[in-house]
């Protein structure tokens, strides 16, 4: 079972309503996190709009979950780090499209077949996907970079014991699920990845 932490009207992945995902993802309001036994879930997903003050207050619970082998998917600009080693969002410097251009840094199942061009531009406009990075701790695997410095906009960090943190410093990865570009692959590939192999 996966856990999707809801944040009121924030857009949830529509694919959760249909096969094969219906019934395999539990949806709970973020503010109910403190009452949950996270060990029941293979992965936890949190949307970009959530209350970071609350998540920060739940840091010990999340750290224990990752140490126990769980996977967390975080979306958004981190302003209140909730784990040791995390630090606040850094915007991409520079101007215009080049500051917002996304580059693939390493292959990863979530991004397979998703072109950097389709992450850079949405209906011809740059910047929806991400505009900077939540700086990665040492040892993170850098997946996509943004801007001239290739700030690591997406990265994955492995915990001893099998835990994983997938960090995306931008709009929700599932925002593109109804787009006609290759970015529509993000949401299904994310859920496939979360339920594949061991995790």
């Amino acid at each position: 079972m996966l856990l999707f932490l809801r944040w009121y009207a924030a857009k949830r992945p529509g694919m959760l309503d249909a096969a094969p995902w219906a019934g395999r993802v539990e949806e709970v309001e973020l503010y109910d996190l403190h009452g949950l036994d996270l060990a029941r879930y293979r992965a936890v997903l949190v949307s970009t709009h959530h209350d970071q003050r609350y998540l920060q207050a739940r840091g010990a619970q999340i750290e224990a979950y990752l140490a126990g082998g769980g996977t967390l998917v975080f979306n958004g600009h981190l302003v209140r780090p909730f784990l040791p080693g995390l630090s606040p969002f850094v915007p991409s410097r520079g101007a215009g499209v080049e500051a917002l251009r996304v580059r693939r840094l390493a292959e990863h199942p979530v991004f397979a077949g998703v072109t950097a061009e389709d992450l850079t531009f949405r209906r011809g406009v740059a910047g929806f996907y991400g505009r900077g990075c939540n700086p990665p701790p040492p040892g993170a695997r850098l997946l996509n970079g943004v801007g001239p410095e290739a700030l690591p906009l997406d990265w994955e960090l492995a915990w001893p014991g099998g835990g994983r943190l997938l960090m995306h410093a931008g709009n929700d990865l599932w925002m593109y699920e109804e787009d006609s570009s290759s970015a529509a692959r993000l949401a299904p590939q994310l859920f496939d990845w979360l339920t594949a192999e061991g995790g």
């Binding site: 009121y8 009207a9 709009h49 959530h50 209350d51 970071q52 003050r53 302003v79 900077g132």
Partner: protein
């Protein structure tokens, strides 16, 4: 001196606008919304309460009576876009519309956003173009309220209501904190650069 407070629901985009330069200094206090207390809504202490855009209405509805009491006691309340103001404030008439984020790519871009009453004090701090970006819907202000930003042929995107209650209700469908806080859309940063000094002056009088 009465305080200008802002409610913070913990989203990153509110954090940037409320807690970081250049706007943090305009606020006397930031109140974490789940911790909002009756003492925060005492007009003798709190001159104005700003509810930044995208605060979930579900978190504001429990305070509906408290906000109404605050306005009845003479307080000033600013409700920004995407907070569902009609769900937690009295007398709000709201019409939802489709959002066109891409209007500015048209050959002759004009999305119908217009300066309302040019005599309103906000315009001494703001250029009309600083209020122009996409909109999520419009209000029909109560009779006697001043529409500061209009949506041509539809209604108001920002109005200042000093007639419906003994207090003052400033309502807008614009969402500048969200976009400024997301490092997206410079017009929204310009809007806050004018709006917050104006609001500050309205609450505490001119800074000496």
């Amino acid at each position: 001196m009465p305080e200008l407070i802002a409610l913070d629901s913990g989203a990153f985009y509110q954090h940037r606008g409320l807690h970081e330069p250049p706007f943090a200094d305009y606020f006397d206090r930031i109140v974490y919304l789940p911790a909002l207390a009756a003492a925060d809504l005492d007009p003798a202490r709190t001159g104005a309460v700003l509810v930044p855009c995208r605060t979930p209405p579900e978190l504001l509805r429990p305070y509906r009576a408290a906000f109404e009491d605050y306005l009845q006691a003479g307080g000033t309340l600013v409700a920004m876009g995407e907070t569902g103001a009609e769900q937690w404030l009295p007398g709000i008439r709201w019409t939802d519309t489709e959002v066109n984020f891409w209007w500015w790519l048209d050959r002759d871009p004009d999305n119908g956003v217009r300066q309302g009453d040019p005599g309103h004090g906000l315009w001494r701090h703001l250029s009309p173009r600083d209020a122009v970006w996409h909109y999520h819907g419009f209000f029909t202000p109560p009779e006697g309220a001043c529409s500061v930003v209009d949506l041509e042929g539809c209604g108001s995107l920002l109005y200042d209501d000093r007639v419906s209650t003994p207090g003052r209700l400033i309502v807008t469908s614009l969402d500048p904190f969200y976009h400024h806080g997301s490092h997206f859309m410079p017009a929204t940063t310009r809007f806050l650069t004018g709006f917050l000094p104006w609001l500050r002056q309205e609450v505490t009088g001119p800074r000496s």
